[in-house]
Amino acid sequence: MADTAPSRSRDLDKLLLRAGNLVGPTFEPGTELRDDLQEYARILVVGAGGLGCELLKDLALSGFKNLEVIDMDRIEVSNLNRQFLFRMEDVGKPKAEVAAKRVMERVSGVNIVPHFCRIEDKDISFYNDFNIIVLGLDSIEARSYINAVACSFLEYETDDKPQEETIKPMVDGGTEGFKGHARVIIPGVTPCFECTIWLFPPQVKFPLCTLAETPRTAAHCIEYAHLIKWDEVHSGKSFDPDDPEHMQWVYSEAVKRAELFGIPGVTYSLTQGVVKNIIPAIASTNAIISAACALETLKIASGCSKTLSNYLTYNGVAGLHIKVTEFVKDKDCLVCGPGVLIELDTSVTLEKFINLLEEHPKLQLAKASVTYRGKNLYMQAPPVLEEMTRSNLSIPLYDLMDKVAKDILHVTGVTGQSDKKTSCLRKLRVVFRGVDGVTDMDMAGGA
């Protein structure tokens, strides 16, 4: 006992310095592993909310020293029942900045870089700098976006064999009330978020005719006030769910409508819940799910134990049920597959190519921005970049891609029908016809 110097990693050392039989295939125990985790492992936490706060704490106490966190939100009073890094006096400040500061204050040696912005504001290359991306999000769209970004780095040796060094692992958590999930996504190996998108059923939307003609529930009355009456009365002024006066107006209109039809149950709290689609959240569930995610992150980074394969659900509603399901990859996934193959003549200009993407039956990608190996070929926004890249539009893509016969391109844009447009990122395999070394059927991606 006497020969052991006091060390902060007293407990973690047992796991990282000792050999075991139930460990991951890459595990090489020793002080070097511990030091490498501290020095070289770079982890990005997406979201600094209920899960994000816990994740930063858990990762900082799991041997990681280089963390970054990205979140566009500011702290609200209703966060304080679970987002334990925030205090009343922090309300209004950026979550990412306060969370990073608090954890650094308490865990010496850890460095956390906050990013107070939207996830789409960062270049794709920003995300490539991390070894593992951990997601603490509450929206399907944001998960989908990060998933596409991480999968865009993936390149394949052959159609079903991903290149090891291009794999960007993700760990994703989510909670609702007493329930939650934690999952490990190894692009190219396990299903990506898009492969199993059916796990997240779309939000229920009421038909407008029900709202307008046959309301039956309190929620119908609220959505009538929110979606129909607001526009009728406030011509041109858009509804702001964070403006208490707007919310109050919707509430009182909903009450009037409910009284008219004899429908019970409209309250201010329900109005907020319906309009903002509030998901109930408690500290304990966030703690459980984040801890599971942090542990998986440590396992992926160190190999100190076998990783979750690949989707864990936690349900504490009646009793306690934990289930692990091994989902399978969708071979034809547009996001984590080798990429949609596009054959082009060498004369096709960038502008023509962008138009092609919109008509492409699988992609239907409008307003595309195009990136090649980190180089912006054309950017729709911001205006400065648009102007700088506009002149490329008339140049053949073949020339812009340095006259290689085939390679991978990244495009971002919007897909979906008129009522639900979402921004997305797609990886494309471009092959130029008639260029040396390429036969028409050569599908292999990568350079």
Binding site: D11, S78, N81, V91, A291
Partner: protein
């Protein structure tokens, strides 16, 4: 001070004012404030638990900083209980937080009455011998107890509560209480005002599916000697019959009726009103607890329904419920009173809703009278159970659950050998069962050798072979002679060396705090 309503908004949406008030009345005692205990309390303090008392006799060491977020450099050498308590207080000033610098083991030995002042005790990282003693102390004092332990990459949370009665269990899947094949007179009369063959297409597509199913179920039973569709063929036929009544393909109400037709097939009465899902959800993995479960029939036939001076409010209400089912209820529990949303004109839907509500209120009133009578007979204040409580009881009568937990020493001295043997060889559960045995074995190991296996650096061969022997003796004592654990698992347990990893502690602490919240709501 900001309005607590806003601060707690996201949790009030789950457990309401009633749940919040139960939480704010609860006083929790934590034994040992390593990361497992600290994280458990953190989640409770954030939610607004009434008061916490942190008990730990140790001083903060440098090693503690690596796994406990509540501690920083300035705490080294200080009382751990004091340091953790100070951080927890910072999280929520509405919580009364205090600490006692004392080893829990000493309190258990020297001062058992100490624990009776709390609603609940959370005992973390406690050895088996002390767990057994504390279990007995808390059971006698009627104090709820939750054990939590993190050990390497494994651990456990276990509840020890004499009786845990759940009124608002809010299961995910539960059959609506619609009485489609057994309508009461007012509902039947309402259904009779509809003509399913109404020529007006607008009226036809706005007939609520509840009415469609009541009428069609009556039509079916009339032509089938009073019995409901029961075979697969009959059920298919019933759905075809519904389909044949459609006059246009866009009639959502008929589509809903076809989809909900299974609600007609369940025979009336309480026995089979339960969904299978809930019953299976109740069977626990391990023979830890005895649940008399969610079968209402079983609950109303439990001996606790014979009231005595010590009967809890819950059982006073169950006794009233039993009488109700046998009399006014005609074999049914009180009506729940709410109906799901369905395609309908507003007026018809609202009227239908009123009929269900009126019946639910009448049923509740009948139960309330019986509850008041029971209270009077017991010599208690007849109004001592509030109307709101009775109402909530009635609304959830079909979902009542009762759990009773065995004492630890019962579990150890009188184990369910076949279950243990089954899980030890089961592909899915053998690792979990193996760790259950090993978590007991390491405590026995520590009692014999004064340290945990692999606790100190150096070669582990001796500890591995000692742990193996100890695990075999645990298995033998359980009556599982001949059962063994894999070398890999024993090896792994030694590798853990009693480490308390932060992420594991946060997980175990998270589970423990969620369970605390659930049992506190019912106290």
């Amino acid at each position: 001070m900001a309005e607590p309503k806003t601060k707690y908004d996201r949790q009030l949406r789950i457990w309401g004012e009633q749940g919040q008030s139960a939480l704010e009345k609860a006083s929790v005692c934590l034994l040992n404030c390593g990361p497992t205990g600290s994280e458990t309390l953190k989640n409770l303090v954030l939610g607004g638990i009434g008061s916490i008392t942190v008990i730990d006799g140790s001083k903060v060491e440098v090693g503690d900083l690596g796994n406990n977020f509540m501690l920083d450099e300035s705490c080294v050498g200080e009382s751990k209980a004091k340091s953790v308590c100070a951080f927890l207080q910072e999280l929520n000033d509405a919580v009364k937080a205090k600490f006692i610098e004392e080893y829990p083991e000493a309190l258990i030995e020297m001062n058992p009455p100490f624990f009776s002042q709390f609603t609940l005790v959370v005992a973390t990282q406690l050895g088996e011998e002390k767990m057994i003693k504390l279990d007995r102390i808390c059971r006698e004092a009627n104090v709820m107890l939750i054990f939590a332990r993190s050990y390497g990459l494994t651990g456990f949370v276990r509840i020890s509560v004499k009786e845990h009665t759940v009124v608002e269990s809010k299961p995910d899947h539960f059959l609506d209480d619609l009485r489609l094949n057994n309508p009461w007179p007012e509902l039947r009369k309402f259904a009779e005002t509809f003509d399913l063959n109404v020529p007006d297409p607008v009226a036809h597509k706005h007939t609520p599916y509840v009415v469609i199913l009541i009428k069609m179920s009556e039509e079916w039973t009339n032509s089938h000697g009073g019995s409901l569709p029961s075979t697969r063929e009959e059920k298919r036929e019933f759905k075809e019959l519904l389909k044949s009544k459609m006059v246009a393909i866009d009639e959502d109400n008929y589509k809903e009726a076809i989809e909900a037709s299974f609600k007609v097939f369940a025979p009336p009465g309480i026995k089979l009103a339960l969904s299978k899902v809930l019953q299976s959800a109740d069977s626990s993995f391990f023979p830890f607890s005895i649940a008399i479960g969610s079968d209402l029939q079983q609950i109303i036939n439990d001996s606790s329904v014979e009231l005595s001076s010590t009967s809890s409010d819950f059982w006073v209400m169950v006794a009233a419920l039993k009488e109700f089912i046998a009399t006014e209820g005609g074999g049914e529990a009180p009506l729940e009173g709410s109906i799901p949303d369905m395609t309908s004109s507003t007026e018809r839907y609202v009227n239908l809703q009123k009929i269900y509500q009126a019946k639910a209120e009448a049923d509740c009133l009948a139960i309330e009278q019986r509850v008041r009578n029971n209270l009077k007979k017991l010599g208690r204040e007849p109004e001592s159970i509030s109307k709101a409580t009775i109402k909530s009881f009635c609304r959830n009568a079909r979902k009542l659950k009762v759990c009773r937990y065995r004492l630890l020493e019962d579990e150890f001295s009188n184990p369910s050998v076949p279950d243990i043997q089954k899980y030890l060889t089961d592909e899915d559960y053998s690792v979990a069962m193996g760790f259950y045995i090993l978590l007991r074995a390491v405590d026995r190991f520590a009692a014999n050798y004064n340290n945990y296996p692999g606790e100190f650096d150096g070669p582990m061969d001796e500890d591995i072979s000692r742990l193996k022997t100890t695990a075999v003796s645990v298995l033998n004592d359980l009556g599982c002679n001949g059962s063994t654990l894999t070398e890999d698992l024993i090896n792994e347990m030694c590798r853990f060396g009693a480490a308390e990893l932060h992420a594991v502690a946060a997980f175990i602490g998270g589970v423990a705090s969620q369970e605390v919240i659930k049992v506190v709501f019912l106290s």
